[in-house]
């Protein structure tokens, strides 16, 4: 119980610190949202005038209050889950903007991560069980190679060859143009078709983490007394591999789930950009280039919060799964 209480306290303090950091970081960036908005016009070749700047300033309602007032507003907004209006989407609240994008990323990243976890773990079990043999080497070397692919590079190549050259997959977006998202079967199929390439890119580049983790754990577990004991007792080797070794080796891999989430989210910023996927990764890049503080803060909050919660849940789960943790803490 003390363990849980401690974890909860720590969770809250970390949350506060992360929230505060999210407030400070965007404001460190040089240049103002107004400059960024004008830059967008300038890059389209529109001649910029002082009058235009004044009007854009008025439209964005650029912050003139002191930084402390802004911070207080910011905390209050978080507490009430209102994040104000984004500069990029003046007609929507930030919550609406994120609400539209988040499901896409959750679906993409979620499916991809589960897929990579399952495949990677299985490959890891296989490699660990056949340690030192040809199968192990091919799996580890292959995973090393594919794991080193920069996601944006793989994304570019797949996009060019599979979409542009051969036309097997749509070239961009989360769904076909002119369609409004809905729950119809045809729309879901459409969305699935659009998510194949970004999903594949993310899965291939994150697979190796699971493979290595699982392989190492397998090898360690296979050396444990109880596994040796089971083998000595004449249990079939497949039973040993799956029932004893793999089950116990799985535990550490589950714990890294929380941390893996960060890597996948990071990768999704680049991959969503390449495939023009309508998710939060894309939105974050937009927020950064537009100096859109409200949107940036809310997005960073979503990212950190999801990681914090994932780690917290895993921590709590760990107590249930591994009694040793309870005693050592």
């Amino acid at each position: 119980m003390r363990y849980i209480l401690r974890k909860v306290t720590l969770f809250i303090i970390t949350l506060w610190a992360a929230i505060t950091l999210n407030f400070i970081l965007p404001r460190l960036m040089p240049g103002s949202p107004v400059d960024a908005a004008l830059g967008k016009l300038a890059s389209a070749g529109v001649p910029i005038t002082n009058a235009e700047k004044a009007a854009v300033e008025a439209q964005l309602g650029a912050p003139h209050t002191s930084i402390f007032v802004q911070y207080a507003d910011y905390l209050r907004n978080i507490a009430t889950l209102r994040f104000g209006t984004s500069f990029s989407f003046p007609n929507q609240t930030v919550a609406e903007t994120i609400g539209k994008a988040l499901p896409w990323t959750v679906a993409l990243v979620g499916t991809t991560t589960v897929f990579a976890f399952v495949v990677g773990t299985l490959l890891g079990v296989y490699a660990g069980w056949h340690r030192g043999k040809f199968g192990d080497s091919s799996v580890t070397v292959g995973a090393t190679f594919f794991g080193a692919f920069p996601p944006f590079w793989l994304g570019l190549l797949l996009l060019y060859w599979l979409s542009f050259k051969y036309g097997w997959f749509p070239i961009k977006g989360g769904y076909s143009p002119g369609v409004t998202p809905n729950w119809s079967l045809s729309f879901l199929g459409d969305a699935l078709d659009h998510s194949v390439l970004p999903g594949l890119t993310l899965a291939i580049t994150t697979l190796s983490g699971w493979v290595f983790g699982m392989r190492n754990n397998m090898i360690n577990t296979l050396g444990e007394d109880y596994v040796t004991f089971a083998e000595a007792n004449g249990l079939r080797s497949r039973t040993v591999a799956l029932l004893y070794a793999a089950r116990n080796a799985l535990l550490p891999n589950v714990t890294s789930f929380g941390l893996m989430l960060g890597a996948v989210v990071g990768g999704s910023v680049l991959v969503e950009g390449i495939y023009s996927y309508p998710g939060v990764g894309n939105l974050l890049y937009l927020a950064v280039t537009n100096h859109d503080y409200p949107l940036m803060q809310a997005l960073l909050l979503v990212f950190t919060l999801s990681m914090l919660v994932a780690i917290f849940v895993v921590d709590l789960l760990y107590v249930r799964l591994d009694p040793r943790v309870r005693s050592t803490s």
Binding site: A148, F164, N216, G266, L299, T304
Partner: protein, 323 residues
């Protein structure tokens, strides 16, 4: 610090759980014995390399890394042209003069690729070293000192872990002015030390209860001396592993930031070649080597780091050793 193989294994490699019997003692060699070996560092590196060479994967990694390092050092001799001179016809595919074609600005892609290895290596190694330095310092202190110091440092580490690195890097890169390679080194180091610190902390926690540490404490040695002189050498492989992991991450991060256009487009690096390829739409003009080659170079450099890390892992954890 001569005997790498006598180092106690980290807890199940990186992040795994240790089994009781895997935890050997410090191999009988007394901590004081290290100072007797005379040309210490050189002999140590030589020996470490020889030991790594014995591991098949690590050997492959060392060869790849060696080739890239040689290319970086002797770039002016290897590269047939200047990497920045815009003297060729733009948008050309591979030819006898331009082995990998030319950029939209009329630069030779092959020469850029050769020179680009310098930036990737500098960023990878420097950011890796810097991140490891921070990780070791924080990890050691936090692992050795219990109570408030540990609480605060672990808290900072956990905080750094939960803020997603890439978004943070994007913001920092936009903030830091100058846009030189060193900006990227700083940004990458700042965002990638936390994992290493966590691993080193937990290993320190294990080691500090060992007899040789206890005896050092009783003989009245000061905290930092114990931490850095007695505990750290027993984690050489772990530190090396964190370094390589951080370097791998740094190479990828550098390429990503450059690709997003957050670096300095005037420097020649693998990331900026890809950025230029994207900007000039090399795939549309059919110059696929301009996209393929720098990406593959990044992959190979990262693979070499990971392969060497396999060797280190295998050395430190006998169970992972190849049979």
């Amino acid at each position: 610090m001569t005997v790498i193989t006598s180092v106690p294994p980290p807890e199940g490699g990186l992040g795994g759980k240790a089994s009781p019997q895997a935890r050997g003692g410090p191999g009988g060699s007394s901590p004081q014995g290290w100072y007797s070996a005379v040309p210490g560092p050189l002999r140590f590196i030589g020996r470490a390399l020889r030991t790594l060479w014995g591991n098949g994967k690590a050997r492959a990694g060392l060869i790849i890394l060696g080739i890239i390092v040689l290319a970086a050092i002797f770039a002016p001799l290897i590269a047939p042209h200047s990497p920045t001179a815009t003297t060729f016809a733009p948008y050309k595919g591979p030819s006898a003069t331009n082995w990998l074609g030319t950029t939209g600005n009329g630069q030779d892609v092959f020469s850029q690729l050769i020179y680009g290895s310098r930036i990737s290596l500098i960023v990878g190694l420097c950011a890796g070293a810097l991140a490891t330095l921070v990780a070791v310092t924080i990890g050691l202190i936090s692992g050795y000192r219990q109570g408030p110091v540990d609480e605060v440092l672990s808290f900072v580490t956990n905080l750094a872990l939960v803020i997603p690195a890439l978004p943070l890097m994007i913001i920092l890169a936009a903030y830091l002015q100058g846009h030189s390679v060193w900006t990227i080194v700083l940004v990458v180091a700042f965002t990638s030390w936390a994992t290493g610190a966590r691993v080193i902390r937990s290993q320190t926690k294990t080691l500090r209860t060992r007899e040789f540490v206890t005896s050092a404490v009783f003989s009245g040695e000061r905290l930092f001396r114990i931490a850095f002189r007695d505990i750290l050498p027993n984690m050489t492989s772990l530190v090396a592993a964190s370094f390589l992991a951080a370097a791998t991450a740094a190479v990828l991060a550098e390429a990503s930031l450059e690709f997003l256009g957050l670096g300095n487009p005037s420097t020649v690096s693998w990331g900026t070649i890809l950025y230029a390829a994207q900007q000039q739409n090399a795939l549309l003009t059919g110059q696929w080597m301009m996209v393929f080659a720098p990406g593959l170079a990044i992959v190979l450099l990262m693979v070499s780091f990971v392969l060497i890390n396999f060797g280190i892992d295998a050395l430190s954890n006998p169970r992972l050793r190849e049979k």
